[in-house]
């Protein structure tokens, strides 16, 4: 009898265990989320978007400079390695700036956010739409660089959530990519917030910063009237105004200025490459080129903010780390990297107006240019003829102004390329001669990992 009970008891215990534990095998991550199950709450949606900005931090840490300045005439280098490779136009498929991984990581995070945030919010919820707007603006920012640096490239707008998806994507045309960039930015310009009423106005996408980026895109695509329209929205935005020349240096060294439209935020623990690029003792990667220094007009008040004018051969660029910054300290830089600011948009607008032509447009273009010149302590051009006398034509005058005003901010190379001046400018310096060479090579690692990817023509 006793035996029977025991048997029954054991049988019951075993049964209970078997049934109780069918769930034991469902283990979701505790300190992270499973990829498909992340976007559940509004807080998740918000952190997913911050995660894209986090990717942007690593994208631009060094590469804003390698991509935007490294192949152009404003910098020189005493170093070997990436900087010399770029400046001497000797890039091969192993150049570090040819690696697009960080950009696509940013795109992947954005694709996740764009795909899953709509599941969290009611349709037409403004918060949801502004978050999607930020995600789309960030994706546009990444693809804008992809298209400008490599030209045709893999174009992916859906998140990877399963091993069944095709991962070996071949290239799409750069115009297809740029169409999507415009599409995304238009959505952002319509749905992002007007302002956050905090420093976030400068480091997160708002309507204003989406329009500013859109202006850059239009200028790249030579869509001048669209650029005039979008820049007008930026200029009328009360968030942005030019700072006084005394505060010009602080735009970069202190960040969050009222002139700034969009900058990638960094701090003490999330640092970037500015120190190593521009200001670390005799080891700084870049210093101002002789040609650039000679191009500065007499009495330009900005020059002193940019580098130490006392030695013949300055060892550093002060612009970001601050004037007189001791370059012996190895603390990594925490300054934000400004990707666009009002002066940039004003000068782009001037360029666009000049391209469209016509009396009124030319006048406004000249006035925009003069606003920047006057702030820098230079004499304004009274007429277009003054500008022509000095720089050959108005566009050249504007481009020169951009080269000084926006020096080392990662605009110069793209200005040269989009205005068709890259070969004429760089040819004498490093022998650049082929249109196809304007694009970067696809990195060898990317080619190795994707059989459907072809190297860019020049590098074959």
């Amino acid at each position: 009898m006793k035996l029977k009970y025991l048997k029954t008891a054991i049988a019951v215990i075993v049964m209970l265990q078997v049934t109780a534990c069918t769930d034991i095998l469902d283990k979701d991550p505790v300190s992270s989320f499973s990829a498909s199950g992340f976007y559940k709450t509004t807080a998740d949606a918000q952190s997913g978007v911050y995660g894209i900005y986090d990717a942007a931090q690593s994208v631009f840490s060094y590469n804003f400079c390698y991509w935007g300045e490294g192949r152009a005439d404003n910098v020189q280098t005493a170093q070997t390695g990436e900087s010399l490779t770029l400046l001497s136009n000797n890039m091969t498929a192993t150049a570090s700036s040819a690696d697009w991984s960080a950009l696509y990581r940013m795109i992947s995070r954005a694709n996740y956010a764009i795909r899953y945030i709509p599941d969290v919010y009611e349709e037409d919820n403004a918060t949801g739409k502004q978050l999607i707007g930020q995600a789309r603006a960030l994706r546009a920012l990444a693809y804008f660089y992809v298209a400008r640096v490599w030209g045709d490239a893999p174009f992916i707008t859906e998140p990877y959530t399963s091993g069944d998806q095709d991962i070996f994507i071949s290239k799409s045309g750069k115009e297809v990519i740029l169409d999507q960039v415009e599409e995304d930015l238009k959505y952002a310009a319509a749905n992002c917030v007007d302002k956050f009423n905090s420093n976030n106005d400068r480091i997160m996408f708002t309507k204003g910063s989406a329009n500013a980026l859109l202006t850059q895109v239009y200028m790249w695509r030579h869509k001048y009237s669209e650029a005039v329209a979008s820049s007008a929205l930026v200029m009328s935005n009360s968030l942005y105004s030019l700072v006084a020349i005394a505060d010009w240096g602080k735009i970069f060294s202190a960040s969050y200025s009222k002139e700034s439209i969009f900058e990638v935020g960094y701090n003490d623990t999330e640092t970037n490459g500015l120190r190593i690029l521009y200001a670390i003792g005799s080891y700084a990667i870049y210093t101002p080129s002789v040609k650039w220094k000679e191009s500065i007009e007499e009495g330009d008040l900005r020059e002193d903010f940019v580098y130490d004018m006392v030695p013949a051969d300055p060892k550093a660029i002060w612009k970001y780390l601050g004037r007189g910054e001791s370059d012996e300290v190895a603390t990594p830089a925490k300054q934000n990297i400004v990707l666009t600011r009002l002066a940039d948009i004003m000068l782009l607008r001037a360029e666009a107006l000049n391209k469209i032509g016509g009396e009124a447009n030319k006048t406004e273009a000249l006035s925009l240019l003069n606003t920047i010149r006057v702030r820098a302590g230079l004499v304004p051009f009274d007429t277009e003829a003054d500008a022509i006398a000095m720089y050959g034509d108005l566009e050249s005058a504007i481009l020169h102004e951009r080269s000084v005003e926006l020096c080392f901010e990662g605009h110069r190379w793209f200005d040269l390329v989009r205005t068709g001046r890259a070969i004429s400018t760089m040819g004498p310096i490093n022998g650049l001669s082929s249109e196809a060479n304007l694009e970067w090579p696809v990195h060898q690692n990317s080619l190795n990992k994707n059989p459907n990817l072809a190297q860019n023509p020049f590098y074959n």
Binding site: D99, W100, S101
Partner: protein, 1048 residues
């Protein structure tokens, strides 16, 4: 003896035996004759009664329970408690077989006698009669799989400080490599080679039925690639036996974790009888086995001057560049030292261990208690390991049918480590070899030089930095066994393995170049595993000859790992090392929980026909939380059979053969060693934007992930010959692993770097032999055992889309390539040194056709594709880190109360990539170099194999160039252990109440025969697949130990 019988009985019944005769094999003739003897015996009818006594030949005491059987029949009796027996025999020609566990069988022909007294000789080869297998025991005789057993006796001979070292050289097919010589450091165990591409190549460890955590949990900053040995928490003194399950028939019952073999560790349990108290003590001293040659101050200065001269030649400089004159100024008080840093940093180190055990019990309760304390200094300054262990194993018979019991062990380990691993300035082993000899320990005023000229003071690094690892671990197991009815038994157990580990790290201001800069880190790790196992076993006999047993069970296991940690900078003082003293808490904060669980069903059926035909089948179904819902369960079957051909009639004539068995098995095991959450993908937090908490997808999901499966075939033979004087075990195996789990690099355009997939195949083929011979067996005894395992590992298949240039780069030094083994080194081939500039007749250049040409003093690299450019395309296979064979040779001698054990261990055919040699022959900054540099190229026309040292190494002659210059033969044979012991006659000790007193002296690592030029060929700086790299691991030591074993 058998021959004699053959003569007597030539008149057998031919007709009945015809079928066998018809086989016509001459060799069988004798067998037939012998068989006939038994047959004829049964034909004669002269029944009578035989009586007698059975005693132990050594002690003379009566032996109860000895089986006495009439040969050729199943008629038999057992001896009574007083050793007496009585049996009816059919005739005078009857042969009686006397058998008992632990004794050699005897056969006696009755003849005319009616009283036959037998003295049974204990049989050394029979000691391990029972073997622990997964979920049960088995008679060694009846094994159908491949299992290596190591008994407590062999452990006593060689006092080891951890379980895994006890395995080294003692189990065929098991390659054990200490990753370094640091106390408590990681050990790599590979059973029958590498079967996986991820790091899951470790066997499963099961202690008293509890699957225990065996992966290193240490989580500090990652400079230490080889981890700690979690099994160092087990006191080897507690071990009764270790079984290594090797083939699929033996391992498949552990299913998903069985592909790499299973190590079963059984601890001592109490036995019925008076309490025995054991007290063991040993004390030993260790020292480094060799110093490596480095240059003295004067030789070093000349090298530094040469590096500048050579750079000038490279650059065709018109004005010679100036060396750092103070560095080569022998009169400068900062630079006038001549220090042999190895002598400063290595020391003679003491170790002590004391161990107390009490065991005993009665019919209803048994206990075994032990506690031990180990204090071991490392040979490197300031390293020390202390361990306290305690264990209590109990068994209670609650009723006739129910037994309950408990094993509980506690370990406290405290490891004061030094940073020996890795590369660079923080790694001590390497940094003292390259530290310029000219640096003094102190300034002229006597104050210590801490940070100077880019070099940290190694003494301060060892003595003032903190690398403390404190582990507390409880392994507990409670069980209940219930005899439901005859043959049917139920067992349930609940076990836990709970580890807490705290790690502290601190680098004071004195070792940093930044003023006031110190940093520290703390990590707290908790690992909790629980397991519940339940199974029923059933044994029965059908008729006289068929024995059937079955087992079925169910288990659950759950793991939870929690890691918490913070890093801090700018502490107020070097004396406050807890993080409340930190000025800045860096954002290296860690707080993470990882979970994993399994649920399994398993069963086994065995069949045994008279011990002659044996068969077994296993099946386990494992479900793991690591796989997607569709692929969660894996099914792992195995089947095996054995044939004891020595019981066949034809074998009777093979007089030398005592026992012979053929074994055949096939089965599957799995591997689930992937991170916990890869199938569902992972969204990680901590991807913050300034102060805003971000989250981002970091692991790409792959719901299709499934088990990695290893199918193994095993053919084995067990032979015992000349009355068990010679026994031989041989095994041949083929292990094929498919659906390899591998983190495949995928296009970055996905946003992810890797996707874990099931890809490719690996195979291991090999053979293992072990031979034990009792060479001399009288008052002087000599036993030899040899084991040796050959393994050939090969990556059979990798999908094309994961390959780059036909291979996968595996870390810095290795590649994975189809047709090549894991551990294949890949780099440039060094052919010699250009004697003169003009010897470079093909104008071979560095890097590209526009690169600098190689000139006199430069290495001649093999230009594989003959394009006169030395670049990545000239890389080739330059070595293989896996041994062709490895094994051990053990000799035991005993004479009266003396015994001597001599244990040789060997490993042959493996290459070592000595990154250490690469680093210490590369003149970087003012680093010292090896004495090989004395043969360096100095001027045009010099013929040497040592290139000219060039400042900054512009052609990467040494730095970062993986080349066969640093690949060396890692084969070695080592006198691993010599123990001489003397047991004081008990007559002398009993008066002091001591029943056994043994004193011994042991030498470990006394001699090593090798061509390897590093500290020691037994080295493995990286766990995982980067096999056989010497990054400057903490060196092995030579140790002399004196010890006492006492029993009261």
């Amino acid at each position: 003896m058998k021959k004699k019988q053959a003569n007597v009985i030539f008149r057998s019944d031919w007709g009945r035996k015809k079928p066998i005769l018809l086989s016509g094999l001459v060799i069988m003739l004798t067998a037939v004759m012998t068989f006939s003897a038994a047959a004829s015996a049964s034909l004669t009818l002269q029944q009578k009664k035989v009586t007698g006594m059975v005693t132990d030949a050594t002690s003379g005491e009566a032996l109860p329970g000895v089986t006495i059987v009439i040969r050729g029949t199943t008629t038999g009796v057992a001896s009574n408690p007083d050793g007496s027996y009585s049996i009816d025999v059919p005739s005078n020609s009857t042969v009686l077989q006397f058998t008992s566990v632990g004794y050699a069988s005897q056969e006696v022909t009755v003849g005319s006698r009616t009283v036959i007294n037998v003295a049974m000789q204990s049989d050394v080869t029979m000691i391990e009669e029972l073997v622990v297998v997964g979920y049960g025991f088995k008679k060694k005789r009846d094994l159908t799989g491949s299992i290596s057993s190591i008994s407590a006796a062999s452990l006593e001979n060689a006092p080891v400080k951890d379980v895994l070292s006890a395995l080294q050289g003692r189990a065929s097919g098991v390659v054990v490599t200490s990753n370094s010589g640091a106390p408590g450091d990681g050990i790599t165990v590979r059973v029958r080679g590498y079967s996986s591409l991820n790091s899951g190549n470790d066997p499963l460890y099961v202690i008293d039925g509890v699957p225990v955590e065996s992966t290193s949990l240490t989580s500090l900053n990652g400079y230490d690639q080889h981890g700690l040995n979690p099994l160092a928490d087990i006191n080897p003194g507690d071990i009764e036996s270790i079984e290594v399950l090797k083939d699929a028939a033996s391992t498949a019952i552990y299913g998903s974790r069985a592909a790499n073999g299973v190590v079963l560790i059984t601890t001592r349990r109490g036995k019925e009888g008076k309490a025995t108290v054991t007290l063991n003590y040993f004390s030993g001293i260790s020292e480094i086995t060799r110093h490596l040659g480095v240059l003295n101050a004067q030789q070093w200065r000349q090298v530094i001057i040469d590096t500048y001269k050579n750079l000038d030649r490279y650059n065709n400089a018109t004005t010679p560049s100036e060396p750092h004159w103070t560095a080569i100024d022998s009169l400068n008080p900062m630079n006038n030292g001549d220090v042999d840093w190895q002598s400063v940093m290595y020391r003679k180190a003491w170790q002590h261990q004391v161990e107390l055990g009490v065991q005993g019990g009665n019919e209803s309760a048994k206990y075994a208690f032990s506690t031990s304390y180990l204090d071991q200094d490392g040979i490197f300054l300031a390293s020390n390991y202390k361990r306290i262990t305690s264990r209590l194993n109990t068994d209670f018979k609650v009723s006739d049918r129910i037994t309950i019991g408990q094993n509980i062990s506690f370990t406290n380990g405290k490891n004061n480590r030094i940073n020996a691993g890795g590369t660079g300035n923080l790694s001590l082993v390497q940094s003292i070899l390259v530290r310029p000899p000219i640096y003094s320990l102190t300034y002229p005023d006597g104050s210590p030089i801490n940070y100077f000229n880019g070099k940290r003071n190694p003494v301060a690094m060892a003595e003032e930095c903190t690398h403390l690892n404190v582990t507390n671990r409880v392994i507990g197991n409670q069980y209940l066994e219930y005899d439901i009815m005859k043959g049917l038994m139920f067992r349930t157990s609940l076990s836990i393995d709970y580890i807490t580990m705290k790690e502290d790290e601190f680098y004071p201001t004195t070792v940093d170049y930044r003023a006031g800069y110190n940093w520290g880190a703390v990590r707290a790790i908790t690992n909790m595993t629980w397991a519940n196992e339940n199974y029923l076993t059933y044994n029965t006999r059908l008729g006289e000859s068929h024995e059937i047993s079955a087992m079925a069970g169910f288990s659950m296991q759950d793991w939870k790992l929690e890691t918490t940690g913070l890093d801090g900078l700018y502490f107020v003082s070097d004396n406050i090392r807890t993080l409340n003293g930190a000025g800045t808490i860096s954002n290296q904060a860690v707080n993470r929980t990882d979970e994993h669980s399994m649920m399994s069903f398993f069963g086994r059926v065995t069949y045994n026909y008279k011990g002659k035909y044996l068969a077994e089948a296993n099946l386990r179904a494992d479900g793991s939380s690591r796989f997607g819902a569709e692929n969660r369960f894996g099914y792992f079957p195995s089947a095996s059979a054995a044939w004891r051909f020595s019981d066949e009639s034809f074998a009777d004539g093979l007089g030398f053969l005592t026992d012979g068995k053929l074994r055949l098995s096939i089965g599957q095991g799995g591997n689930e060693s992937i991170p916990n959450y890869v199938s569902g993908g992972e969204f990680s937090i901590g991807t913050n934007y300034l102060t805003y908490s971000g989250a981002a997808p970091t692991v790409m999901p792959n719901q299709a992930l499934k088990w990695e499966v290893t199918t193994q075939y095993n053919l084995g033979i067990d032979l015992s010959m000349f009355n068990n004087r010679v026994s031989f075990i041989g095994d041949f195996y083929i292990k094929n692993t498919s659906d390899l789990l591998f983190a495949v690099p995928i296009p970055e355009t996905t946003g992810f770097g890797y996707l874990t997939q099931n890809i490719g195949d690996i195979s291991n083929k090999g053979m293992e032999f072990s031979v034990i011979t009792h060479n001399i067996d009288n008052e002087f005894q000599w036993t030899t055992s040899l084991n040796i395992g050959f393994n050939k590992n090969m990556v059979v298949d990798l999908p094309d889309d994961v390959l780059t240039n036909g291979y996968i780069q595996n870390g810095t030094y290795h590649i994975l390539q189809e047709g090549k083994p894991i551990g294949t080194f890949y780099g440039w081939k060094f052919l010699g040194v250009y004697s003169r500039d003009e010897d470079n007749v093909n104008d071979v250049r560095f890097g590209s056709s526009a690169g600098k040409p190689f000139i006199g003093g430069d290495p001649i690299w093999d230009d594989l594709n003959n394009d006169n450019v030395i670049n990545d395309e000239d890389k080739q296979i330059i070595g293989d880190a896996q041994p062709i064979f490895a094994g051990g040779l053990n000799n035991d001698f005993s004479y009266k109360n003396f015994s001597l054990n001599v244990f040789l261990q060997f490993c042959y055919g493996n290459d070592i990539y000595s990154n250490l040699n690469s680093m210490r022959n590369w003149v970087f900054a003012y680093n010292n170099v090896s004495t090989d540099a004395l043969n360096r190229w100095r001027e045009q026309g010099d013929v040497t194999d040592y290139p000219a040292p060039v400042r900054n190494d512009p052609k990467r002659n040494e730095y970062l160039r993986v080349s066969d210059r640093w690949v060396e033969d890692g084969s070695y044979m080592r006198l691993k252990n010599v123990t001489l012991s003397y047991t004081i006659p008990s007559a002398l000790t009993t008066r002091a109440g001591i029943s056994r007193l043994r004193a011994y002296v042991t030498g470990q690592n006394l001699l090593t025969f090798t061509h390897y030029t590093g500290y020691d060929p037994e080295v493995n700086s990286y766990s995982g697949l980067q096999v056989g790299v010497d990054d400057g691991a903490y060196p092995q030591s030579r140790t002399i130990i004196f010890g006492l074993n006492m029993e009261f």
